[in-house]
């Protein structure tokens, strides 16, 4: 039968044409699961292609041969129980054939037990926070924020765009290869969705709830993804970057990061006795403001009327300095204003408040020192 041979030929041909890992198709990825998902995608795609070719083939046969202009007289048939049962039953059987491997894959994807490393991922507008909870039975004791590092000038077309435009961050998530890594997702504000296509992991980060997912990466490398759930203005600027390292390298990285965290804490303590100059505070302040505040309050300090309040000549920035510090530290519950106490160092916080009180013609002349921030925080840090 010509039709059967043609169909078989097509089934054999399509994988060659499937452009795996090209810009046209799903990636096979770097985990067993992602490869499995890719296979499922290709199987169901091929089933659709075959059905499509048969159905559209018959239809176009009719379009070319059963034309009134060719003098064809219409046939009279308009039902056939036999054929109608047949074309209800055949798709049903195909579906069962498809459901079996899909079910197996899904069960494997949802099995988050026996993880070697557990990382808590917290989304917030518009950054990710990674916290290493446990690694092979020990406390991870490392946590950091990961913010897009693409400069604003590239986005506004003032500079030429880099190779990883919009898909680069200041601090990537680092995980070991060949270890089962469990992710716990949650959110501080709206719903986000953490997605790395190469792992076939996409899971929503819901505020107030914790979701689970896992991966086991086979190949070291840098893998990029994005937030996949609309999360407000800068949803498109919330990339995910994961670096997978060999376990030995990962261990070294983890120890180094733990050390860095302690050093940073000590450096912050040392600052308490120092008085920083206005120039130093303003320079650092502008830098931190641009990465942490400008998304909402805008680089001009004008905000977006009706959505995000401006800071230029605002009662907060011109009013009581302690109220201003408290708002930056603790945020305003029930609004988009986040609590920055745990996101930034004492020096950065001091610099931001100083910057906001002196930029855009606010000119209060107030200088806020790290010690003052520390005092507002009380003894808890």
């Amino acid at each position: 039968m010509g039709v059967v041979r043609f169909t078989l030929w097509l089934i054999l041909l399509i994988p060659q044409l499937s452009f795996a890992n090209s810009s046209l198709n799903m990636r096979t990825g770097v985990t067993d699961i992602s490869e499995n998902v890719y296979q499922l995608h290709m199987i169901i795609f091929m089933i659709c292609c075959v059905i499509g070719i048969i159905v559209f083939g018959l239809m176009f046969w009719a379009i070319f041969h059963h034309r009134k202009s060719k003098g064809v007289k219409p046939a009279q048939f308009h039902e056939s129980t036999k054929i109608e049962i047949l074309w209800t039953a055949i798709p049903f059987v195909i579906l069962i054939g498809m459901a079996v491997p899909a079910t197996k894959a899904l069960i494997a994807m949802e099995d988050t037990t026996k993880a070697d490393l557990t990382i808590k991922i917290t989304g917030s507008q518009w950054k990710w926070h990674y916290e290493y909870l446990t690694y092979e039975g020990k406390k991870g004791d490392v946590d950091f924020y990961s913010i897009m590092s693409t400069p604003q000038d590239q986005i506004t077309n003032k500079e030429s765009k880099g190779e990883h435009y919009l898909l680069e961050v200041d601090k990537p998530l680092v995980i070991p290869t060949d270890k089962k890594v469990r992710f716990l997702m949650t959110s501080d504000d709206v719903i986000h969705s953490w997605w790395v296509p190469d792992f076939a992991v996409k899971k929503d980060a819901n505020p107030g709830f914790i979701n689970e997912a896992w991966t086991r990466v086979n190949t070291p490398g840098t893998y990029r993804g994005q937030c996949a759930e609309l999360c407000g203005k800068d949803h498109g600027f919330m990339p995910v970057v994961v670096v997978a390292k060999e376990p030995a390298e990962f261990d070294a990285w983890l120890i180094e990061s733990q050390q860095e965290k302690q050093n940073a804490a000590q450096a912050d303590q040392a600052l308490l006795s120092q008085t920083l100059s206005k120039e130093e505070l303003m320079t650092l302040g502008q830098q931190v403001y641009m990465s942490s505040c400008a998304a909402c309050h805008q680089p001009t300090g004008l905000g977006i009327p009706g959505v995000f309040p401006g800071l230029k000549a605002s009662p907060i920035a011109l009013g009581d300095v302690n109220a201003h510090i408290d708002m930056v530290l603790h945020g305003t519950p029930g609004t988009a204003m986040q609590a920055f106490a745990k996101q930034l160092t004492l020096k950065q916080l001091a610099a931001i408040v100083t910057y906001e009180r002196n930029a855009w013609g606010n000119d209060t002349g107030d200088l806020v020192q790290p010690s003052q921030i520390k005092a507002r925080l009380g003894g808890d840090e």
């Binding site: 810009s23 009719a62 379009i63 209800t88 077309n157 919009l166 719903i191 929503d204 203005k233 609004t335």
Partner: protein, 549 residues
């Protein structure tokens, strides 16, 4: 008015009375007389005539289609190149949100209601819709709903920017103060839809001509009857969920706020319990239109009429038990994911039956390719492509990769643009000569078809590729590897948008004049609507027609 109430029991006279047609005296000789419409603006404001109301719905829907389309042009212009060029991300989000709301509630749904108003009474041999005053009201509240929604775009903070799906807490705690306007607008749209649906059901159940038994109903009537039940079932759910958004935002409740004991995922369950049947509300009448057109231009009876009816009913039933397939990444338990995967896959069975039936209708027919048929054939092919990507999306493990990417955008635009909207255009081209009495400009209409067909595929087909390659939806900017395809998509978008101006021109010219057409406009067309004159008189079937066989 007094003279009318005395001894006129004829329902036709009551209808005239409702229209406020001033009739001084009535005797038997007047019963045969046809009264024309009132003059001027009052005709349209006060009309209870199903044809007038149908026309208003259709024109309203066309206006909304153009407004929503303009927003799509803004979106595509911004996405033409990487980087931010024209609009800021906050405005971009307002465009995607309002584009979706306008197209779903302003363009597709009113167009189908307009077609139902015009065609259901003509197809079942009824003099009008059963509840003409409510019919008037259900139309006239719509412009207010959309004026409120569109007006919010011009207010401080702008319009809704949380996507047409308005997921909490983005639409509650984190939205701007104009959210109340969005909620109010959706409430009015919902009321309008419910009233329209009640009218359709009451008309079909009570006003069929004698001998028009259930299994003789044209499929457009059947599909609309089932659609109307879906509307009545789910519109109150939508009203409920927007009200919860309203009280969460303004009155301190915590339906969707975990800090108060609520659950943001519950929002999605309620929304999609409305949202999935809503998808079928926008496609079942399309099936009905195509099932009328394909037999007409194949000169052959529809294959498997009974199985078409049963398939429509099965799809409607299944639409209530698949909603969470929109939510596979929200962290549902495994059992839930499996259940919704299986039920979703099942939908392809009755949908497949429909496609097979259309192909079997064409098989060994005597085909000709007038403009309605061209759109109907394009519908069958392109809607089926949308159905295939739907089946792919049902496979949960693969959905984790497809979810919230341009693959999904491609999928639902195939089923809604080349599905619902192509079917509406097919229907308009099919019945426009009946409505106006004039044949449309066939050459121009063919240009409209071919330009739309090519551009719509340039527009939506590459979206599959960028989606699979990893481009998320609802982003104002994208990584460089997506740049080439996005430029192509935007060019397709502009071409498709401009092509629709031809449609406006064809419709306008046809209303103004053209070659006169006979009662039976198309040689192979079957049904009662082809037995009344063209243009259809202001009042039809004042005495019920006799049903053949």
């Amino acid at each position: 008015m007094n003279s009318i109430t005395q001894d006129q029991k004829d329902s036709q006279e009551q209808i005239k009375a409702q229209e406020g047609v001033i009739t001084t005296e009535h005797d038997d000789s007047h019963a045969e007389e046809h009264h024309g419409p009132a003059k001027g603006l009052k005709r349209w404001l006060y009309t209870t005539n199903h044809k007038d109301i149908g026309s208003m719905y259709l024109i309203f829907s066309l206006v909304m289609f153009l407004i929503g389309g303009t927003m799509a042009m803004v979106i595509r212009a911004e996405l033409f190149q990487p980087g931010l060029q024209l609009v800021d991300p906050h405005f971009f989000n307002q465009m995607t949100t309002v584009h979706g709301l306008i197209m779903v509630f302003g363009a597709v749904m009113p167009a189908f209601v307009g077609l139902a108003n015009w065609m259901v009474p003509l197809m079942i041999g009824a003099p009008d819709m059963a509840l003409p005053r409510m019919n008037n009201w259900s139309f006239w509240i719509l412009p207010f709903a959309f004026a409120i929604l569109l007006g919010s775009l011009f207010m401080e903070g702008g319009g809704p920017a949380f996507g047409w799906t308005f997921y909490a807490p983005l639409s509650t705690t984190y939205s701007n103060d104009n959210t109340a306007l969005f909620v109010f607008a959706v409430h009015i749209m919902g009321i309008s839809s419910i009233m329209g649906a009640i009218n359709v059901i009451v008309t079909i159940v009570n006003m069929r001509a004698p001998g028009m038994t259930w299994m003789k109903l044209p499929l457009f009537v059947w599909t609309w009857l089932i659609t109307a039940f879906l509307l009545i079932a789910v519109m109150p759910v939508l009203a409920g969920v927007v009200t919860m958004v309203l009280t969460d935002k303004y009155f301190g409740t915590s339906f969707f706020n975990a800090m108060g004991g609520g659950d943001p995922v519950m929002f999605q369950h309620i929304f999609w319990f409305f949202g999935h049947p809503e998808v079928y509300i926008m496609i079942l009448p399309a099936f009905g239109i195509v099932s009328s057109i394909i037999p007409a231009f194949s000169r052959k009876k529809l294959f498997g009429y009974a199985s078409m009816v049963y398939a429509t009913a099965s799809i409607a039933f299944l639409s209530f038990i698949v909603w969470a397939h929109h939510m596979f990444t929200t962290g549902m338990p495994l059992a839930g994911e499996l259940f919704f995967m299986y039920t979703t896959m099942l939908i392809s069975v009755p949908t497949g039956v429909k496609v097979f039936n259309w192909v079997a209708t064409m098989w060994r027919g005597s085909l000709s390719f007038e403009v309605p048929m061209l759109f109907a054939i394009a519908f069958v092919v392109l809607f089926t492509i949308g159905g295939f990507s739907g089946l792919m999306l049902a496979i949960t493990p693969a959905d984790f990769q497809y979810h919230d990417t341009y693959f999904v955008v491609a999928h639902f635009h195939y089923v809604l643009v080349t599905g619902a909207i192509f079917s509406i255009m097919a229907g308009v081209y099919y019945w426009l000569p009946k409505w106006t009495g004039n044949m449309f400009d066939i050459a121009l209409a063919k240009w409209h078809f071919w330009l739309s067909l090519v551009s719509v595929n340039v527009l939506f087909f590459p979206m599959h590729f960028v989606g699979l390659a990893g481009m998320p939806r609802r982003v104002p900017d994208y990584a460089l590897q997506f740049a080439d395809f996005n430029a192509i998509i935007s060019i397709g978008g502009f071409a498709f948008g401009l092509s629709q101006l031809l449609f406006v021109a064809v419709v306008y010219k046809c209303i103004k004049g053209g070659d006169k057409v006979p009662a039976k406009v198309w040689e192979g067309a079957e049904g009662l609507e082809w037995e009344v004159d063209s243009p259809a008189p202001y009042h039809t079937f004042e005495t019920p027609p006799k049903i053949k066989d």
